[in-house]
Symmetry: C2
Subunit: 569 residues, 2 copies
């Protein structure tokens, strides 16, 4: 059967009904009420809040309907789409082929019946598929991904019945860590296995290690720098995860969270251009190599605004923005443009949030930037308002001072920090400009000098040669290499009693430093590493020592709060 398009009416077909698709369909219809807009969805549900799956698995979200409903409590089903959006939504319906010459899509409904729909414009929002390597034993029962709502339904049920039992999550990225928290909330004993040296690859190691420590403190085992080699089983069920070093981790269930790949099967078969990263190639109008076909969401490659390079950015917020652009252009012609991504993201890991925007130090170096960075640890608001800790890292281009990226982790208000930094990165703001920002301030909400501004001050001081700082990672490396360095803790004796590095450091409280110079190395070229709890007093100490003629004083940035390794106490 072929549905002929009514020639008087433009027909826009959207394939994919999770995030980009519904947005594209709704936008297209809004801008062209005369158009017929058809949304094809393989799953039974529409417009699922897929980023909420981990919170549904944990039981935090009580019912699956909550993931499918508008704020007013109406389920976003075909009836809703027809009435509220004027969009004809076909669920349980798969698009099996696109014929760009005939301008038609072949679909198959739940009963297996095939039809062919003609289109004037087509929008592909086919999303992504989880990357599951062909591990030995990958077909065993009890091995899950968390990609579809059906996945979430099953994992939720299994996890709820598995309290006290071991679970292994393969992959310590964003979804891996969210899944880890969800399973832990269900009472399971969770081990996360990450092949890279650090979890949460959008963070540099210094900040990533702090999140890892926090997850460990919550009872999660984290194994990094080690890949999964396969699965072991008994009676068709997974019983252990085998690591690349031969170790076996017994488990009741395993989740594979090794990222996603663009789902481009339909596009490729239709002869559309595919980019070098495996996503559908689109221009800034979200148009594919075919002038009548657009694409949006996880299935496309988008531009990194900072490097200009193509990138995969499978995030729900971008899917919506891209879908909006594709829908508008399909409806009224190519007038909207999607400017690309800067790589903003955030996730909750137990009581911590971890967020980043722009380029990490590693990515900035890889992109060829001459990079300067600063780490800052501070409370998020005044102590008398119940402050919580934030540790941040700012990455800037040495030549221009432009902020390239910002990362922030901790129990404090990471959300505001990363959001304001994201706008600064998008706007091309410099470190100096950020240091003069006029941001909202009141004690319940931030410090008088906001954490982001203070981070900019540290980096600005560093760029102007007023501050010689090293990350904890660099200081630790110097220790490991046996480099001679005088470790100077300038906190108070009570603080030292409660918590300390225990690596041979000398305690001279900052207030006494000016009168205790005789306890320091005589050699004015000796390397002195000054630190305190965060970094402020360490910085003051460096200025004092420099005033006294010491030429090689570095501040350990972020102080003990940013030290991601074991301490004496």
């Amino acid at each position: 059967m072929t549905w002929k398009a009514d020639k008087a009416r433009k027909r826009i077909i959207v394939v994919g009904g999770t995030a980009a698709g519904p947005k594209a369909a709704a936008r297209a219809k809004r801008l062209n009420q005369e158009a017929e807009v058809v949304l094809i969805q393989k799953a039974p549900e529409l417009s699922m809040a897929s980023c909420g799956y981990p919170y549904y698995v944990s039981g935090g979200v009580a019912s699956r309907d909550q993931l499918l409903s508008t704020p007013a409590g109406v389920v976003r089903d075909p009836l809703f789409f027809a009435g509220a959006k004027g969009v004809k939504a076909l669920v349980n319906t798969e698009a099996t082929a696109v014929d760009p010459k005939a301008k038609s899509v072949t679909i198959r409904d739940a009963a297996g019946k095939r039809s062919t729909l003609e289109y004037d414009k087509l929008i592909l929002c086919t999303g992504s598929v989880p990357r599951v390597p062909p591990f030995p034993g990958a077909g065993l029962e009890g091995i899950f991904t968390l990609h579809s709502l059906a996945d979430a339904d099953v994992l939720r049920a299994v996890a709820a019945a598995s309290a006290g039992k071991p679970a292994v999550v393969a992959g310590g990225g964003l979804i891996g860590m969210e899944t880890c928290e969800a399973l832990a909330a269900s009472g399971m004993k969770v081990t996360v296995v990450e092949k890279l040296p650090n979890i949460l690859g959008f963070l540099d190691p210094d900040l990533s290690l702090l999140v890892q420590n926090h997850a460990r403190a919550k009872g999660v085992e984290v194994i990094t720098g080690m890949g999964v080699a396969g699965f072991e089983g008994a009676n068709g069920r997974v019983s252990a995860v085998r690591l690349e070093d031969g170790r076996s981790l017994p488990c009741h269930l395993a989740v594979v969270a090794l990222g996603v790949a663009p789902n481009v099967e339909l596009a490729r078969a239709a002869g559309l251009a595919i980019g070098s990263l495996g996503g559908i190639a689109v221009n800034e109008h979200m148009r594919t190599s075919d002038p009548d076909i657009y694409a949006a969401g996880d299935c496309v490659e988008v531009t990194c605004r900072l490097t200009g390079a193509k990138t995969l950015a499978p995030y729900g917020d971008l899917a919506n923005l891209e879908g909006r652009v594709a829908g508008e252009n399909a409806a009224v012609g190519d007038r909207a443009a999607f400017p690309g991504t800067i790589g903003s993201g955030i996730c909750k890991v137990f009581d911590f949030a971890a967020g980043a925007t722009g380029l990490s130090e590693r990515r900035a170096r890889n992109a060829g930037y001459d990079v300067v960075t600063a780490v800052n640890a501070s409370p998020d608001k005044p102590g008398f308002m119940g402050a919580k800790l934030l540790v941040s890292k700012m990455v800037a281009d040495k030549g221009t001072g432009r902020i390239l990226g910002f990362q922030c982790v901790g129990a404090g208000e990471v959300n505001r920090q990363v959001a304001e930094a994201a706008v600064a990165v998008m706007a091309g703001m410099t470190v100096e400009e950020a240091g003069m920002a006029d941001l909202p301030y009141a004690p319940p909400f931030s410090l008088a000098i906001d954490h982001f501004i203070a981070t900019a001050h540290i980096l600005d001081n560093k760029m102007k040669g007023l501050f010689e700082g090293e990350s904890c990672i660099e200081v630790r490396r110097a220790m490991d290499e046996g480099r001679e360095q005088f470790l100077l803790d300038v906190r108070g004796p009570k603080e030292f009693e409660e918590m300390r590095l225990g690596r041979g450091e000398t305690l001279i409280p900052l207030g006494q430093l000016r009168s205790r110079f005789d306890e320091l190395p005589k050699d004015k070229d000796a390397r002195i590493v000054a630190f305190c709890k965060v970094s402020m007093r360490g910085y003051e100490a460096r200025r004092i020592l420099e005033g006294k003629g010491y030429r090689n004083v570095v501040v350990m940035e972020g102080g003990l709060m940013a030290w991601p390794y074991a301490r004496e106490k």
Copy 2:
């Protein structure tokens, strides 16, 4: 006695020890370890967290030491300043005169002893004084301001002993509303009296009224558009506040929170230039009309970055940034520049936060801009994550699309919204650019399309003619003027049952609109006002009606959630 400056050492004297002063002193010393930096402070305390006074008055902050301590718990007293900062701080010491010719400051200590100190550079951070008009009865006991820590000490003690008794706060600005909350937290029955038509003057009326409603719901009486005329008393104690209309409000205590004026006595007597707004005139280096005297904090006039006009901006965060610039320039020459303010601010009012950045609609119009605005009401995050409401207003320049200002109120996460908007305003971002922002998203933190982005989308649609919206205030005005309009509520019947306007509106749920056109006015030029709970469905309704040929459909922006007047239910 004259302290001669050691000619080999630069002497920098800073007058004022609350916010700008300590920052200026510390920065100056850091950048010039050879300099002698002296901080003169009239009060017994230094570096007080003055923005925290309301939370100390309420008892939320347990001890006054918390307002005076570093995050590590060290009190910032002269010993701390000497040891940690290398700054000689003289407390209980008043600077009584400046002689710019002799380059000296005359001081008087607690015992009344006078000395004269020579300076190389002087930094005036003399702050502000509360504006207390010469009301009849202003000298009665029981009338307070909340400006100094001594004020806070007294008010805290009196309020704690006055539970159940009436208090009147004159002034519904930021400090007035924070004080109102503090007194209510102490159990007092509080009335706020504001002479202007609305409280919190940084908000436009539409948003201000929502905060006012919230304060009322918390048991506070709010009287607007009415000034205080004087105080009545018995036995030397205040017993009532008399309003301009002759009414008397009985009270056990009254707080005057009518704003602050720059404290420029010392500067004026020294012959320094004073600006037209009454603050010390400074250039971008925070230098006064005397090349050796700088000034920073509440006592100066700064530049509004948006209009270029001079303005008074007595905020703790700006005081710190200005002090940092003044300290640097006094220490090493004029190299740092303070770019001015955009007027960012935030405050807590019971369970609401209210924040703004840039220009309000009123201020933008006064500054001569051709202004477009949009109001948006939405949850701050997905419903399944425990969403709370945000209501925002974006103000933009019609010609360029540049965002001039953003206001946000509600129980949701106002903090992130105003912070990201502030950076956008500073960066000169356009509405269209904001609508394509790549911001951090995960369900615990925001909506997939962040509230700020969604607000930009509404305004962008409006600017492109896709959306004809009016604020609730405009719709209400049309009602009051008896203009014929068809009020169309497009929510569901259950929602209508629970809450409704009750102004003769017709309920047609959005999903049924396409099949119930016959219930609408026949005249396609009839004015139809479409609305729902927030604004999304109202917007959809408008598109549908337009598609049907209606030419005069407006959306009531922000829907019922932004309606600041009484409802039927």
